[in-house]
């Protein structure tokens, strides 16, 4: 069985909890619907977001160079990292130069992707994730299960127990207001003592050389403005051409993500404060390679809103951890095979291909089509599990000729009637888990039609 299915099986073992998870995410999807429908030009806005990103991908080199030029002029130090290891080494060297040992970090999927925390901790640097959800899973030593709501899989009682153990809150207390206040006090101490701040980047504007970070908690800014050195880590695809383009993306992002009209804070960092240092790290880590895959390149348009996760019937019922990658859900399932086709070969199959992800995507990525295309790539690379490989070959052979199809149908109708259950529902038949076949008809539709057409 594939990794995703195996892990999902553990997740759905608790039915009440699965339903709760499903409902929580569907609620966010409904908020997104209301927010998007409040804007009459929503569809045109999506098209524009998509067009701008297409334009960026076609001119990515030029815009990166322009961005670098303007950032340098603003007094920002710009670094380039070909892969995760190089990115982590650059962060490390900046911290060393500033003798920084206590780092506060706001949400960044890129640093998750690069396993920056683990790298820094190994080198005796304290890294505190300051987004509440991220802090919760950091204290639990778990990866995020969602890119916007990292702790969406946890119950408040579990968070209460965790905070009791780690932050000394009252035993059994699980009121979100109380727990959030405890985290606020705890994190304010960390902000007060920090030597450096690291953030992700939502948008980097070529025309201005500045980066834009969106948060609801204000945690990115607490760190950035209090620390003597600020480091912004970004994938190279985060570039947008103009200051004006921010109008399009700030309208799309929060509405798609949580149904808010805009995030509480939209911060534009252009220059360091006098006496302080500002660094931006541009990271490739497989992105330029993905750019070369014609069918899959537009996965790089993603603005990380998480809408495709909230709407996905598989994600909602299997949880983010079952995907085994930093970015789970539909978008993760089209990004991962490009990173390691064999390792993630099951993810494009963790989908019903219903297309809901593509319908809600604010930059119109054809996610469900790419899921389907990746399946073909995976079959070509011989990376399917044996049961699926043989059943697909058999199906292909059967469907290739009408006469063969008729014969096989007859054989199946006969076999399914007479074979004992333990053979029909054997272990190879993963479809039969939790599903029952309908009553087997005596004849095919074709036979019935030929007989009755007059």
């Amino acid at each position: 069985m594939s990794q995703h299915a195996k892990k999902a099986e553990t997740f759905i073992a608790n039915e009440a909890r699965t339903d709760w998870h499903d409902a929580s995410l569907w609620m966010v999807r409904e908020k997104r619907d209301r927010a998007s429908k409040s804007i009459t030009e929503w569809e045109a806005l999506r098209q524009m977001g998509s067009d701008i990103k297409d334009h960026v991908l076609a001119n990515l080199d030029t815009y990166l160079v322009q961005f670098e030029e303007n950032a340098l002029q603003n007094g920002v130090q710009v670094h380039w990292a070909a892969d995760a290891a190089e990115h982590n080494a650059i962060v490390q060297s900046i911290l060393d130069k500033h003798q920084a040992r206590r780092v506060v970090k706001s949400k960044s999927m890129l640093t998750e992707e690069c396993h920056l925390n683990q790298h820094l901790e190994k080198n005796n640097i304290e890294v505190i994730d300051t987004d509440l959800g991220e802090r919760i899973i950091q204290l639990l030593d778990e990866p995020p299960s969602h890119i916007v709501m990292p702790a969406i899989h946890l119950k408040k009682q579990e968070i209460g127990d965790l905070f009791h153990e780690k932050l000394g809150t009252e035993a059994g207390a699980s009121d979100p207001q109380y727990l959030t206040e405890a985290a606020r006090q705890h994190l304010r101490q960390k902000f007060q003592a920090c030597d450096a701040a690291i953030t992700g980047v939502n948008f980097a504007v070529a025309e201005t050389g500045g980066v834009v970070v969106c948060t609801n908690e204000g945690n990115a800014d607490m760190g950035v403005h209090l620390a003597p050195v600020q480091i912004h880590c970004m994938g190279i695809e985060k570039i947008i051409p103009r200051w004006q383009d921010l109008g399009v993306f700030t309208r799309l992002l929060a509405r798609s993500a949580t149904g808010q009209p805009i995030t509480v804070f939209t911060s534009h960092y252009h220059r360091p404060e006098p006496g302080k240092a500002m660094h931006i790290i541009l990271v490739d880590n497989g992105r330029s390679k993905q750019l070369g895959r014609e069918k899959f390149r537009n996965s790089l348009k993603c603005i990380r809103c998480g809408a495709c996760m909230n709407t996905c019937p598989i994600y909602r019922r299997s949880g983010g951890h079952s995907y085994g990658y930093t970015v789970p859900g539909p978008i993760g399932s089209i990004l991962t095979p490009g990173i390691d086709l064999k390792k993630y070969s099951d993810l494009p199959f963790a989908s019903t291909l219903c297309g809901s992800c593509s319908d809600v995507c604010p930059v119109k990525i054809n996610i469900h089509e790419q899921l389907y295309w990746w399946r073909q790539e995976i079959a070509k690379e011989n990376a399917l599990p044996a049961a699926k490989r043989w059943s697909m070959r058999l199906a292909g052979w059967t469907l290739a000729k009408p006469s063969r199809y008729d014969r096989m149908g007859k054989l199946a109708r006969w076999a399914l009637r007479i074979l004992p259950r333990f053979i029909t529902y054997n272990q190879m038949n993963t479809w039969g888990k939790g599903r029952e076949l309908p009553e087997i008809p005596k004849q095919s539709f074709k036979e019935w039609y030929t007989k009755n057409k007059s």
Binding site: T130, T180, E181, G210, L226, P261, F265, L291, R297
Partner: protein, 196 residues
């Protein structure tokens, strides 16, 4: 070969055919009253409150009524000088700011569609002020409203900008079971004072 060269070369090799940069749509701007009423209702949506300055009465009386437990109230707006409010001048010392209960700042542009207000860096004595304060009050001229984010960016200039911020309501989180809690890491409340 260094990373910069490697990355740029790979992009040049792999990038798709050039595509036109799309132009922006023209939209109706709406009348002033529409803007104001939309803006005010959006402020409530994002968890902020609002009041007209001419209706709120004397600043010091208002503040002592609404922020009863506040010990330290600071302003960066020269127009508001009242008993018990300190004018805050430029400071590099963030630890001077940790005990601020209420900070009054001036916004320069409000966006009707989402209640966001632009705070430029210049009048702020320290960039962290709008975040570190327990309660935030933003003063905004009623004529400085635009319909949406396209118009907002059109009206704002990035020339010489070091830091700038759109703020829409108080700091909040829903990271615990999707329950909305105000006052995550930044200001616990946000009040917008509209004047003319």
């Amino acid at each position: 070969m260094n990373a910069r060269t490697t990355i740029l070369q790979a992009i040049r090799q792999n990038k798709p055919e050039a595509k036109e940069r799309p132009s922006f749509p023209q939209e109706p701007t709406g009348s002033r009253t529409d803007l104001l009423s939309t803006f005010c209702s959006q402020l409530l949506t994002v968890g902020a409150e609002w009041v007209h300055e001419e209706e709120m009465g004397d600043w010091s009386v208002f503040l002592s009524n609404y922020y009863k437990n506040a010990h330290r109230i600071v302003t960066t707006v020269p127009a508001i000088q009242a008993a018990g409010i300190d004018m805050l001048h430029e400071t590099n010392e963030a630890h001077d700011l940790w005990d601020i209960d209420v900070a009054i700042v001036e916004g320069t542009l409000g966006v009707a569609e989402n209640g966001a207000i632009w705070l430029p860096e210049d009048p702020l004595p320290h960039r962290v002020l709008p975040f570190i304060t327990q309660h935030l009050i933003i003063r905004l001229h009623r004529k400085n409203l635009v319909a949406n984010m396209h118009q907002a960016y059109e009206n704002l200039s990035y020339e010489g900008l070091g830091f700038g911020l759109f703020v829409a309501g108080p700091s909040k989180t829903a990271d615990i079971e999707q329950s909305l809690v105000k006052g995550a890491q930044g200001a616990r409340t946000a009040l917008v004072v509209l004047y003319i």
